[in-house]
């Protein structure tokens, strides 16, 4: 009914619209279908692009797009089924080749088909939300070829077999595999992953699990690592040669897990070839390999680091606690330095200068150096040795290197104040005896200590240098003033030491010979004349003297002796025989010093300018001493020293330790007061923690000491305990 009515409105001229041939669509499609056949049969050369494009265009225009599209799907599917058969029929090795050839054919055909159906791609497909021709062609290939039941598993197995062959050393056609893999990627990364990569990774995991088990049974650690490294490189090479780059991380992950992560503990601890052996034997190459392989797996590096740390701690502990090795302090320190150098080199050569490894090394050193309480003393002695003579002939740079190494050891020390104590003593001796090799080197070390520990630490050391300089000036002035009344009396050289800067113990002056006493008096007059308000006291225990002595046969020698020894020898100008008691009475030298001085004058072969009766090794109070007329020596100059600055004897050590403890008390107290002043109220544990923090650059205070200091401060009413909470302290202003 409605159509009838509508006709009324139609306009005459358009009544006879051109009716499309009812078979138009069929005919046109047949032409296109034929063309698609020809294209797949490599017969396209006779075809006219324009004609085909026009036919497809007209089909879309006349709303036969759906027919065109479904026809394309049917025709292409049919061809792909045929292709699938021919691939299935391919025998053995030609399977992949056939697949690859057909893929290339299909790709080319697909592009041609897409070009002639371009108009459909442009208008019909977007408006109907269908898959564009090219993507359609790929999807159909995927469904009809790759996922066909006779091809899917065969393709996968072929590929996996080829990889396996290559792993066992055979040559395969990488180009072919590469093309097939690229095909899978072209079909979408999901196809590549599902149809190949997933299985490839599983198979690889099995392979490397078995292989690594074999290797670990029969190889030593170094060889195993070489093999693992080679496998890893092979897999990366394989990815770059014929797999998709996205697989690299995944397959290396498999190798890392199977070959390294699963065996790393066994490798590191392998007997006779594990990490410790490598470290001991400086096997840089093996260590480097281990580092670069282990860093790829979780916890790999921390394993190396932990084992290295415990190894260094063990060897270090042995080094510092072996009493045999502690006998010679210089060798002791040199051994520490060698150990440090050795591991520094390993870290830089094999461990990529890894910061965490450097930290581990440092903490290990700090750990074991402080195991030996004498380390500060030994290090100072090492410096003393170096600055006395060890550095003679070194260039400035070399000196710096040695000093820097010393500083590095110094940094490890927890009891830096103990080091300071010894260093001060040793420096004083060097300065007073004029034995220091290089002023520059001395000062350079002071600067280093200053940058490390601050002004406070070195101010006294610097004071010592200042005194030395001032003394020189003073002596020049003194000699100039005495120039007029210079007799042939003894020449006096005085070093004026500021009290407090020097590690001197007040010791009573001995009785000096009258000749000397005169000169000394002159100097005192001069000095007090130029400086007012000062007091001079003589440190006869520290000076030296040069004596000219004539022996029995008239031979003359110059003797370099200590002031004490000089006093003793001068007595023999007026007597040939003196008893110990007489000497002691005449000189008033403290007994221990007197004994030492006599010992070196009478009991050292080649330097025995005195003779003792009875002959024995020790000095007794009943001994008698004679001028040794028969003394001979091929040297004109003789140095007769009391026993030198050496490693301290046990009582001396105790004494030093006590002095250190004494010195620490005010520092601990100062720290406590500083902290309490700012915090007002604090509990015991927190005070201990903060004091430790404040002082650790100098020493590690003992909690018991801190507790005692707190108690002392409470007694002196700096602090008080809280009335309720006895663990709480209050600051009393």
């Amino acid at each position: 009914m409605s159509t009838q009515k509508r006709r009324n409105f139609q306009i005459e001229a358009f009544k006879h619209r051109v009716v499309v041939d009812p078979k138009y669509a069929e005919k046109t499609w047949n032409i296109l279908e034929h063309a698609i056949h020809e294209i797949y049969n490599h017969n396209a050369s006779g075809l006219s692009f324009e004609e085909l494009y026009r036919n497809a265009y007209n089909m879309v225009l006349h709303k036969f797009g759906e027919k065109l599209y479904s026809g394309l799907v049917t025709t292409m599917t049919m061809h792909l089924r045929e292709i699938s058969k021919s691939i299935e029929d391919a025998q053995g090795g030609s399977f992949l080749e056939e697949l690859n050839r057909k893929w290339a054919d299909h790709n080319k055909a697909l592009q041609m088909i897409r070009d002639i159906l371009m108009y459909m791609d442009r208008t019909f497909i977007p408006s109907t939300h269908k898959t564009p021709v090219h993507a359609l062609g790929l999807n159909l290939w995927r469904d009809n070829i790759i996922h066909s039941s006779n091809i899917q598993t065969r393709l996968l197995n072929t590929l996996l077999d080829l990889v396996q062959e290559e792993r066992t050393g055979e040559i395969i056609d990488r180009w072919l595999v590469r093309n097939v893999i690229m095909m899978l990627m072209d079909l979408g990364s999901a196809v590549y992953q599902e149809d190949f990569e997933k299985h490839f990774l599983n198979v690889s995991a099995n392979f490397y699990s078995v292989e690594s088990q074999q290797f670990i049974e029969c190889c030593d650690c170094g060889d195993y690592l070489k093999k693992a490294e080679r496998r890893l490189n092979e897999e990366m090479e394989r990815v770059s040669q014929y797999l998709d780059p996205s697989s690299e991380a995944k397959i290396t992950n498999v190798v890392e897990k199977e070959m390294i992560a699963n065996h790393m503990h066994r490798l590191v601890h392998m007997e006779n070839s594990g990490l410790v052996n490598m470290l001991v034997d400086d096997k840089y190459e093996d260590l480097g390999r281990m580092y670069s392989l282990f860093r790829r797996v979780p916890d790999g590096l921390s394993l190396i680091r932990d084992v290295m740390t415990s190894h260094i701690r063990d060897t270090g502990r042995q080094l510092v606690t072996d009493p045999e090795k502690a006998r010679n302090p210089v060798d002791f320190v040199q051994r520490l330095l060698d150990e440090k150098d050795k591991h520094d080199k390993i870290i830089s050569m094999a461990f990529n200068n890894d910061k965490t490894f450097q930290n581990a090394l440092n903490s290990s050193f700090e750990y074991f150096i402080n195991l030996n309480p004498r380390s500060p003393e030994f290090i100072s002695l090492f410096v003393d040795e170096k600055l006395r003579k060890g550095l003679k002939g070194y260039s400035e740079e070399d000196v710096e290197v040695v000093l820097d190494k010393v500083m590095m050891l110094f940094r490890y020390l927890q009891e830096k104040d103990v080091f300071e104590k010894y260093y001060k003593q040793h420096l004083a001796k060097r300065l007073l005896s004029g034995k220091t090799v290089s002023d520059d080197a001395e000062r350079s070390l002071i600067v280093k200590l200053k940058t490390e520990c601050g002004y406070q630490f070195t101010s006294k050391l610097e004071g010592m240098f200042t005194d030395m300089k001032t003394s020189q000036d003073t002596m020049q002035g003194f000699h100039a003033s005495q120039a007029t009344n210079l007799g042939d009396g003894p020449t006096l050289v005085v070093q004026v030491l500021t009290t407090g800067s020097w590690p001197t113990q007040p010791s009573p002056a001995c009785n000096l010979p009258a000749e000397i006493l005169g000169v000394c008096e002159k100097f005192r007059m001069y000095y007090l004349g130029t400086h007012t308000g000062r007091r001079l006291s003589w440190q006869t225990n520290m000076g030296t003297a040069d004596l000219k002595a004539t022996f029995g046969k008239g031979q003359k020698h110059e003797l370099n002796v200590s002031t004490y020894q000089m006093c003793i020898l001068m007595l023999f100008n007026n007597a040939d025989r003196l008893s110990y008691k007489e000497i002691e009475q005449a000189t008033e030298i403290p007994a221990s010093d007197l004994k030492r001085s006599l010992q070196s004058l009478a009991l050292i072969k080649g330097k025995n300018v005195l003779r003792k009766e009875p002959m024995s090794k020790d000095i007794g109070e009943d001994d008698a001493f004679f001028f040794n007329d028969k003394f001979t020596s091929k040297f004109i100059k003789l140095k007769i020293n009391t026993v030198n600055a050496q490693k301290e004897s046990e009582p001396e050590k105790q004494e030093t330790r006590q002095r250190v403890e004494e010195d620490r008390k005010p520092q601990v107290e100062a720290a406590i007061v500083r902290i309490m002043k700012s915090r007002r109220v604090l509990d015991h544990n927190n005070i201990v923690a903060e004091v430790t923090k404040q002082l650790q650059s100098r020493f590690l205070p003992n909690p018991v000491v801190i507790k005692k200091r707190i108690e002392s401060l409470i007694e002196r009413e700096f602090l008080e305990r809280d009335k309720v909470d006895r663990k709480l302290y209050r600051y009393l202003a």
Binding site: S48, F49, E50
Partner: protein, 98 residues
């Protein structure tokens, strides 16, 4: 000018237009015809026949190709289209994806 750089376009009436390949490729469709893989007759012979495009329209199309190249290089001149041929030309342009 070398032969490869020219292409012959033939109208429904058989009239031949020999123009630069570069100009012809302004049309995406002709570009596909001449560059599609395989050997379609057109790319082998350097000739394209358009049985549904009249001589007048094809001539106008060719003019447009050259005008468009010029336009691309910055010269602004108007491309005049006679109202009579607008629809036919539009459909040809649609066909040629121009």
């Amino acid at each position: 000018m070398k032969k490869e750089e020219m292409v012959t376009l033939i109208s429904a009436e058989g009239f031949e237009f020999v123009i630069d390949k570069k100009a012809a490729m302004v049309s995406q469709t002709i570009r596909n015809m001449l560059t599609s893989p395989g050997s379609f007759a057109e790319s082998r012979e350097g000739k394209v026949t358009f049985p549904e495009i009249s001589t007048a329209i094809l001539e106008k199309i060719c003019q447009y190709f050259y005008w468009s190249l010029q336009y691309a290089s910055g010269k602004e001149t108007e491309f005049h289209i006679e109202p009579e041929m607008t629809l036919e030309l539009m459909m040809a342009a649609n066909y040629l994806h121009t």
